[in-house]
Symmetry: C2
Subunit: 405 residues, 2 copies
């Protein structure tokens, strides 16, 4: 099928003009919504996009093969998303998944560290440009739809804290602690001892610096440690936005390690992106440019390993659309500081990030991506039998962790 | 291993005396808790129990091969449960599971009806003896641990109603409606049109009679229908304590049917017993005497079929220990009315039911059984993005549905 007839079949809604390098301009959609116009710069780009759109559209935008003439890249991506909204989700066959598991997600220690560095060792000054001041780089919790990003990220920490049932003096492990925001809030508000681990040297330096500045270094300790190498015994384990980097071949090792490190009356909360539509292969452009080694699981892929590890699923919350809103906030902030970011990196980097933020928002808004929060225990009575306590939102967890004079 | 050495290995806690037919009496446990003493009536029973305890203990109690001398059957079962509490849950191999699937759970329409009749066509007068007056024969929701059974069953209906997000005039399908209690409450309180289906002629007659008496027959219609034979289109689907009878070979058909019957913006809530420890085979005594064709799944066994049906998991609540408390209430009520029940049926029937209620309570209290409530949708935005609305408890749903003069 030619690119033209493919586009005509797929784009039914919206107002899209595609200027082809052969001079022709395709008018697609039903004319509704804001007009979007793009130009494809060459026959070579046209052929690459036709042959492998999921990889080549992003590359074309990064490298000037796809030029926005009316609207921005987000408008184009959103228009594509709206048209894909009610199409059934695709599913990869078992052979393709087995091959990709082996090739892309084995994530041995050295590879895992390199994969993490690829994304998270970008300068913290870059992330400060578009994240909230606490540097929460995961799905916020919009307890109220009109919340600011700051408030929604604070609400996320409160929501996690409530599910963790923290008690003063407990030992908490934070697997994938990022720049330390959650660990510091819990250490200060709940007076627990937190060990935060990351594989990013940049995150580690920032987290340690923040702990020192807030006089919390005694209670929130950070280290460059692979989750497979942690020893000890914890009352609580929390892991936010890290499971996406584990890779399917390591799911059993991950949950076995959670079970090993968790005390018998302990509680763990795992927060991760998932997909509602069943198992699938990683999006190829994202796997190449943004998250090498990553994998977004369906819930059905996660639970067998939880059960085999001897962990009890005490609750599963499915956060739908919260990440679409989080990504919208990040995208708008990114756009507002684009010139500064282009000065730190370059134009191609900016376009890569714009594309990444836009297609991620599309995935959550239109293509069945969600965030799941698994609450896990080892004893059937380790958590209360109703979920009422999860509605609590301790205001101390939401307070910004500030430098102490 | 002899029965003696097996028992000595397994029973560490409690105060158990077992009088053997050879004259010897085994003293087992650490002497803690109330004393329990049993006699095994013959060498034949001793050998049967040793060879296949999961089938033969129940049969021995029913048929006089195991006689309680101190304490009741529940005390014995609870003592066994306390000792099993921290033993890892067993898992059946795939071959055993495949064979049992084929042999026991195929549940073709005729077999399904016979299996349902076996249990649910017992006289409603029998069930009235130990259930709450609304005849809720499924796990109650102890919103407060001091609640009566009546209040906890009303709270269960309120909890389901909140998750169903009912609006006046909607069409609701209740798959496995029992004696109609939930359907009638929803029809009256939320002013929805409910189609309740069951395969039990006794339940059907009772549900229809109650609808007539309450002047709700126009809004709550009941029929003897297999879930596979329902046609139409529903805003809401609810199914409480029925999925246990579907059988693994029919999980895809079940969720495909839910997806087919549910409107695009619809919401379904499936409430079922599950096991936390991963897949296993049905308990053999229960499969023979109580629930032929039944199967208690692990969550990991259910979700692949949900995903393949194109349904979105919007929420999963795991009700731990609520069923242990529900069963405790039923057991106590059963004991209080035992003489009446023995007069309707016979002594052996009473012992069978006592054993069933006791080992079910054991399974929920000590052996990782739980109830899961799956909230399912077809659109990612069909339910609100936070769970706050689930805390609502509409008092109209809790009011008893009374006869209208």
């Amino acid at each position: 099928m030619s690119l033209q007839s493919f586009l005509q079949q797929v784009i039914r809604e919206g107002d899209l003009r595609v200027r082809l390098p052969v001079g022709e301009t395709l008018r697609l959609g039903d004319g509704s919504g804001p007009p979007v116009a793009v130009a494809i710069a060459s026959r070579r780009w046209m052929m690459r996009i036709a042959a492998n759109p999921s990889m080549a559209v992003g590359e074309a935008y990064m490298d000037g093969g796809l030029v926005m003439e009316t609207g921005g890249i987000h408008d184009l991506v959103d228009l594509i998303g709206r048209n894909a909204r009610y199409r059934p989700l695709k599913r990869a066959g078992p052979l393709a998944r087995w091959w990709l598991d082996r090739r892309l997600q084995a994530n041995a220690r050295g590879v895992a560290r390199r994969n993490v560095a690829h994304h998270y060792d970008l300068s913290v000054d870059f992330y400060r440009r578009f994240l909230d001041p606490d540097l929460q780089y995961s799905c916020a919790y919009f307890a109220d739809p009109r919340m600011s990003l700051e408030a929604a990220q604070a609400a996320k920490k409160q929501h996690l804290a409530a599910k963790l049932l923290l008690e003063r003096g407990q030992r908490v492990l934070d697997i994938g602690c990022g720049w330390g925001g959650l660990a510091l809030s819990l250490a200060r508000a709940a007076e627990v001892e937190v060990d935060g681990i990351t594989l990013s040297t940049e995150q580690l330096a920032t987290a340690r610096g923040r702990a020192e500045a807030a006089s919390l270094a005694g209670r929130a300790r950070f280290s460059l440690t692979d989750y497979r190498d942690v020893a000890g015994s914890y009352d609580r384990i929390v892991s936010v936005g890290m499971f996406e980097h584990v890779g399917r071949p390591n799911y059993q090792a991950y949950f076995d390690q959670v079970a090993r490190l968790l005390k018998d009356d302990g509680v763990a909360v795992i927060h991760s992106i998932g997909r509602t539509g069943g198992p699938d292969t990683p999006q190829s452009w994202i796997a190449k440019y943004i998250f090498p080694g990553g994998y977004i699981p369906a819930l059905s892929e996660v639970l067998p390993y939880v059960e085999r590890a001897g962990l009890i699923v005490a609750d599963i919350e499915i956060l739908r659309l919260h990440y679409a809103e989080t990504l919208r906030c990040w995208r708008e902030r990114f756009a507002a500081r684009r010139a500064e970011i282009a000065a730190i990196y370059d134009e191609r980097f900016c376009r890569m990030w714009e594309f990444y933020l836009s297609i991620s928002e599309l995935a959550f808004r239109y293509r069945g991506h969600m965030v799941f929060q698994l609450q896990l225990t080892k004893r059937i009575d380790a958590a209360p039998i109703t979920r009422d306590y999860m509605a609590a939102s301790d205001p101390r967890v939401a307070e910004p962790v500030r430098q102490v004079a």
